[in-house]
């Protein structure tokens, strides 16, 4: 087991990429610490699967190096990298029994006899597949097959990292919960690094200790679920994570202060240097906006009930924003004023948070 480092990685599916848009993965360097539970989160087409396939060795990156510990594995095929991968659609060998499926990776590596048998039974028990062992794998349900895919990774004692590529896509909703908590439990028992690719924020936030958010081929933020919620480094993260997403409002910066709607807005860090950014925006989550007796004048346009709280849409000129109002509090109709919580209000320059560490 080892730490995984991606150094100065870039990848393009085109033979000779020219423009920035030709790169499926833009320049990045990422470290994955040994034994961590990571989620790789982002919308479809953001490059998650590409990144995953580079780590597993199914793809060789156009530029950069992949290191497992101190060993450079960039040009090493997947079977020599000691990785395991679970795919979106369950992959099982239809002609084999569940037992043969599980022992297959061991046999291919020359492990057999009592050791292999013991390992297979141990993993089958862990995955609650023990009753199924003599059955044909083809006859199992989707979640059973997905467990086999996972089991083929777990039986190997040499595995550096187990990767999951949206593994719950074809699983029934009520089983998703079961399988997801199973994964979490397995991570604690097995202790190997796990990387879980998904576009579903709930899956990512419940599974992972560290979430890697990707957007258009770039890693925009790596952090704990709390970090992503409270300190989104990029407006995309603010928007993608949380429901409803972060409010993003156009602003100007004047005299070291953000200005919105002609009023100075207090922010967590004073925006000193805007680096000549083209667009400047204020980001604040709906959780940190409240009605007040004075502040920014708005019109209330819509109220929707979401159970424990209500989501209120308000408008100032062309800008709309949402705020959450807890049960029992009054909502003014028509004209009102709102206040943004300074501790959770930040200025973004060209999408990136100012002062919080703009360079990726």
């Amino acid at each position: 087991m080892a730490r995984i480092s991606l150094q100065d990685l870039r990848h393009s599916y085109l033979p000779s990429p020219r423009t920035e848009a030709d790169w499926a993965l833009k320049h990045m360097s990422v470290d994955w610490s040994d034994g961590g539970a990571y989620a790789l989160l982002g919308p479809s087409g953001c490059g998650k699967t590409t990144l995953l396939n580079i780590i597993s060795g199914l793809l060789t990156p156009t530029e950069g190096r992949v290191l497992f510990g101190d060993e450079d594995v960039t040009d090493m095929p997947p079977d020599r990298r000691n990785i395991a991968q679970v795919f979106q659609f369950p992959v099982v060998y239809d002609t084999m029994t569940v037992y043969d499926n599980l022992i297959f990776p061991l046999r291919n590596r020359g492990v057999s006899g009592a050791d292999a048998d013991r390992k297979v039974r141990e993993i089958a028990a862990m995955l609650e597949l023990d009753d199924m062992l003599p059955k044909r794998a083809a006859g199992l349900t989707a979640d059973g097959k997905q467990k086999i895919s996972l089991g083929r990774g777990l039986v190997r004692s040499d595995v550096n990292v187990i990767m999951f590529d949206e593994p719950l896509t074809v699983i029934d909703p009520h089983l998703k919960w079961v399988l997801r908590s199973k994964l979490k439990e397995l991570h604690q028992r097995v202790g190997s690094t796990m990387i879980y690719v998904t576009h579903d924020q709930t899956e990512a936030l419940t599974f992972a200790d560290q979430v890697v958010v990707m957007h258009e081929g770039t890693v925009v933020q790596i952090g704990t679920p709390v970090d992503l919620f409270e300190r989104p480094r990029h407006t995309f993260v603010g928007h993608f994570i949380g429901s409803p997403g972060m409010n993003v409002l156009p602003c100007t910066v004047d005299g070291g202060q953000a200005v919105f709607a002609g009023q100075a807005v207090q922010t967590a860090d004073a925006p000193t240097d805007t680096n000549g950014a083209k667009t400047l925006e204020i980001g604040v989550r709906p959780e940190f906006v409240s009605f007040a007796s004075d502040g920014i004048p708005v019109q209330v346009t819509k109220v929707s009930d979401a159970g424990r709280y209500r989501i209120v849409d308000v408008q100032h000129d062309a800008a709309t924003l949402k705020l959450l109002v807890p049960e029992g509090e009054d909502i003014p109709s028509g004209s009102a004023h709102i206040r943004l919580d300074p501790a959770h209000t930040r200025v973004y320059a060209d999408g990136w948070m100012l002062n919080g560490g703009a360079a990726a």
């Binding site: 396939n53 597993s56 199914l58 095929p77 997947p78 079977d79 990785i83 395991a84 991968q85 795919f87 979106q88 659609f89 992959v91 060998y93 239809d94 002609t95 084999m96 297959f104 990776p105 291919n108 590596r109 895919s149 083929r152 990774g153």
Partner: protein, 288 residues
């Protein structure tokens, strides 16, 4: 087969098909059955003969010989075309411009009229003017398919391999293309050997199309007529006279309608029976 609604009116949809096929299949079949139990000396005068012709055909050495040649031929071409077709399908590029080029060129022999196939191979294999004939003789092997039974068989089989292997290739290729990339990737990660990938991923996924391929090749090779007739005329002697060639010789050459009709029915029943056996065996294999 599930999720279908019961609808007796569906018969109206299939009526045109049934009418056309019945016209073509049932009336001629009745004619054949009619002939098979009668004797005629011309002038449309028929005498009831019962099962005499069937007994005669089933006991005739000539029929046994044609049937034996037919079985041997079909067995040989299946043994060559199926493995060869699978091998070529496996070696084909999976994507890119070459796929279209390969497919178009490979499909070409399938669209050549069958007697042109025979004629083409005739002039290709003739020892004096044919490229193949010249090449083989150039290697120091005495080769003349119009004189030597072995050469005639070799040429007929080579022609059939040339003509039909592409069908197996195209079917297997279609089967292979339906395998998602994830299967190959998972196998790579599991450290599977090339043989294991073939045995546990590719072959199972090709099973259905292979069943179709084997059935089609079996049926069509069992009915083969035009190509060997044009190539060798069934000769030298009777050495390449397969069932259809023999049948046409009896029916249209000697005008022995009774025996020809009886033989037709036996022939058709053999094809049906063998197809059914093949199909059942392959389906049973799939369920296990």
């Amino acid at each position: 087969m599930n999720g279908k609604t019961s609808n007796p009116k569906a018969w109206l949809f299939v009526l045109p098909v049934v009418a056309l096929v019945a016209f073509n299949a049932l009336i001629p079949l009745m004619t054949v059955v009619n002939y098979s139990v009668q004797e005629t000396f011309g002038d449309n005068v028929f005498f009831w003969e019962g099962v005499k012709w069937f007994e005669q055909v089933l006991h005739s050495d000539r029929f046994h010989a044609s049937l034996g040649r037919q079985m041997t031929f079909t067995a040989i071409i299946l043994a060559i075309e199926v493995p060869l077709g699978i091998a070529i399908a496996l070696a084909m590029p999976r994507r890119g411009v070459w796929v279209s080029v390969c497919l178009v060129l490979m499909a070409l022999p399938l669209l050549i009229p069958w007697n042109v196939v025979g004629a083409m191979w005739n002039i290709f294999a003739l020892p004096d003017i044919g490229l193949l004939g010249r090449m083989i003789n150039g290697l120091g092997i005495d080769y003349n398919f119009t004189q030597q039974p072995i050469a005639a068989w070799f040429t007929t089989i080579l022609m059939d391999v040339w003509h039909w292997t592409s069908l197996v290739v195209l079917l297997c290729y279609a089967g292979l293309r339906s395998i998602p990339d994830a299967y190959y990737q998972a196998a790579k990660i599991d450290g599977a050997s090339g043989w294991a990938v073939f045995r546990h991923i590719q072959l199972p996924k090709m099973k259905r199309v292979l069943t179709i391929a084997i059935l089609l090749r079996f049926m069509d090779s069992f009915m083969i007529y035009t190509e060997p007739f044009v190539l060798t005329g069934g000769g030298p002697g009777n050495t390449t006279t397969f069932l259809s060639i023999d049948l046409v010789k009896i029916a249209l050459g000697q005008f022995d309608l009774g025996p020809a009709a009886a033989m037709s029915l036996i022939y058709f029943l053999i094809v049906l029976l063998l197809c059914w056996v093949f199909y059942t065996l392959m389906m049973r294999g799939e369920q296990q």
